[in-house]
Symmetry: none
Subunit: 420 residues, 2 copies
């Protein structure tokens, strides 16, 4: 196993550094085995993976050649209209390498492949039953959202779930969003023919994100939650509670979900795993009200499941084994530490900065003698969210999420360059 990895890395390195160039031939399996003093099987496995990863290509009866994939990839990113190369992205919700145990997840994926007969079939439109069962336990424990698996619908992200919801509630007319920045949701509802309002508590459907009300994660106070529920019940509207980021609202006391507070009567609860796991895994779910769950059942033929079945099976066992809980705790610690580090670095390097932590971001006020535009930063390889600029002072919201711990110092120096 070790020899295999060595051989794989050896050739990968040669190809990446262009010591082996596009179109050049690799030694035959037999020759390579002799040269490196290893078995032919080991060489074959390493070649197979090099091929699978796009570094080499096999030509029948002729041998293995270096592809031109590397080159075209690189040229592509140069041409793809990405003008400036962003090295430090302070506005990203993406993950850094330290934040997620990819090897552990890979084990769950591997074990999902053992359930061969399940992978061969289409599976449940609503999502795999055992996953919905695990989700039901998980959200009861974590958010006091009490729902049987029958009311849970799984999908590949919030978008396809909202699509289903739009189809189920099309007798309603108006929908309210907390702000214009919810552009995907707004577009979807408007394409389905709904009238979109902003912050209209009298709308037929009220979309809220109570754990993440602003770009730096303000949480809706409990008093407002209770008022919202009471009002919604009185006018018979539906609340869509997008519980995005509730896992990371760590600096405050956990606030009860609207779903729990309302007893689930008129609240649809939505949750996602993209930010607890990694963005590349598209798995979300929603908990329907009893009426909507009935309606879904009647209209099931209309819909198709979008989430990967392998990933559904993997997630189910990952949750059952308690890894979601420990991953959430790990992420919280990790983000807390990184945010504190960012705060300290900012205060030390930029003495004039007024900086405070707000959730997993740092909010900075600075004297800044330039226009309100992210271009200045982007040109220097950083991306930031500018909350406000009054002509003299600029207010930035900086998230260290995608920046590895040992890069934060350098990232702050880059920021300093742009500001000074």
């Amino acid at each position: 196993m070790k020899k295999y990895t060595e051989l794989y890395n050896y050739y990968k390195e040669l190809i990446i550094t262009r010591q082996l160039k596009s179109g050049e031939k690799l030694p035959s399996v037999r020759n390579a085995a002799e040269l490196h003093g290893i078995s032919k099987t080991t060489v074959q496995n390493a070649y197979f993976d090099l091929q699978a990863d796009g570094y080499i290509i096999s030509s029948p009866k002729s041998g293995y050649y270096v592809t031109d994939i590397n080159i075209s990839e690189k040229e592509k990113t140069e041409q793809s209209g990405e003008e400036e190369k962003i090295v430090y992205n302070f506005r990203s919700g993406e993950a850094d390498e330290e934040s997620f145990d990819l090897l552990l997840w890979r084990r769950y994926i591997k074990s999902a492949f053992r359930q061969k007969e399940r992978l061969l079939s289409y599976g449940d439109v609503q999502g795999e039953y055992d996953l919905r069962e695990a989700l039901s336990d998980y959200i009861r424990e974590k958010r006091n959202v009490i729902s049987s698996p029958d009311r849970i619908v799984v999908g590949a992200g919030v978008q396809p779930l909202l699509s289903i919801l739009c189809a189920l509630i099309k007798d309603k007319k108006t929908v309210s969003f907390p702000g214009k920045s919810f552009s995907q949701g707004i577009a979807l509802f408007s394409d389905y023919g709904f009238d979109v309002h902003i912050k209209d508590k009298n709308a037929d459907i009220v979309y809220v994100c109570p754990s993440h009300m602003t770009s730096y994660g303000d949480v809706m106070p409990i008093k407002r939650r209770i008022e919202l529920i009471a009002h919604s019940k009185s006018i018979n509207s539906i609340i869509i509670e997008d519980d995005f980021d509730s896992d990371f609202a760590y600096s405050k006391k956990p606030t009860p979900s609207l779903f729990a507070l309302s007893g689930g009567g008129n609240v649809v609860y939505m949750g996602s795993f993209s930010n607890v796991l990694i963005p590349g895994i598209r798995l979300s779910f929603m908990v329907l009200t009893n009426e909507l769950a009935e309606l879904f059942k009647k209209n099931k033929y209309k819909f198709a499941q979008t989430a990967s079945k392998t990933e559904q099976i993997a997630l189910c066992n990952y949750i059952r084994d308690g890894h979601i809980m420990s991953q959430t705790r790990k992420l919280r610690r990790h983000y807390t530490a990184k945010t504190k580090l960012l705060l300290n670095e900012l205060k030390y390097e930029i003495e004039t900065a007024e900086a405070v932590i707000s959730d997993n971001s740092v909010v900075v006020k600075l004297k800044a003698p330039f226009n309100k535009s992210t271009d200045v930063f982007r040109k220097n390889g950083t991306d930031v969210y500018i909350e406000d600029y009054d002509g003299e002072e600029i207010k930035l919201v900086l998230s260290p999420s995608s920046i590895p711990t040992d890069e934060i110092h350098n990232a702050v120096l880059k920021l300093k360059e742009c500001i000074m």
Copy 2:
């Protein structure tokens, strides 16, 4: 005191209405106290009384669980959602074990995990660029569909892709489907506010499935294809060509795609891998017209990618290494052999049957002295598609797709039991 009563009634209600089911866990005392914003003592009192009244039971050091006080055995089996057990499914497009090399696919998934930095990021809304490149090569080779990767959009199934399409062409008013059996597509377009017609060549959008026009896979003749394109160009409509099953239209000469015949001017081409690979892998794509591709680019912010990134990376390399082509060939041979076997078994076992092969199904006419209903079959553990019943003769379309080769004989015997 009031809070205690509220909490007691809250959980009692949840248990009685089965939202909390037998065996499910209640939140811990501490969690419940936090969630409801009350003291631990209040929660303890409420839990104590719920226990005294038989609704919950406490398990030392583990927590509180709902009892099975009022759930009968019957309800339990109902919850598991199984009516009749279908052993032989003749109407399924699902795969059998022999049809797909799952171990090979698993290796590609494993190798996708090596691209850690790609998995950590959100990726392209349109689909991973290298996958779109591989798809572009593949459909050029296979269906003469000539498109740059810029016009290809990847998604987790045809449904989310049609959703995007609906949003892009919402200025159009009418859509035509080839028949009412396209229920998912019809529902989606109608939910987006389109007027749905059946077989209306004058509609603004014409959805066709030229490689699979009937339940047993008739192919649209080339003369009709050319007429359709000419008419569509003259009235400036859009054709959606769902190329479902073109891979398996093996008994006929391959017919050019509408996209190829039209030069791509007004045709959106859709393809899927669920039936070449396995249904559990949700990967589809569409090729937009130039105008729609431009529109997509402008509206990109509206959409989210639904397909699993791991599976996108794996599929890209799987296609590049030529496995899709060989998998398609393998499946064709496999299905041809199974269909012939089914035909022979039917003719041998049921002498009165008139049976012919139509694509990868067998169409059987039989004297049948029962009502047109699949119940008779389902009760006996088989599922079939009944195309027609005139009171004397029944016409069945049987697909051996999901039945392993060495089970076909037994499956036919089961069918015989139902018919004789």
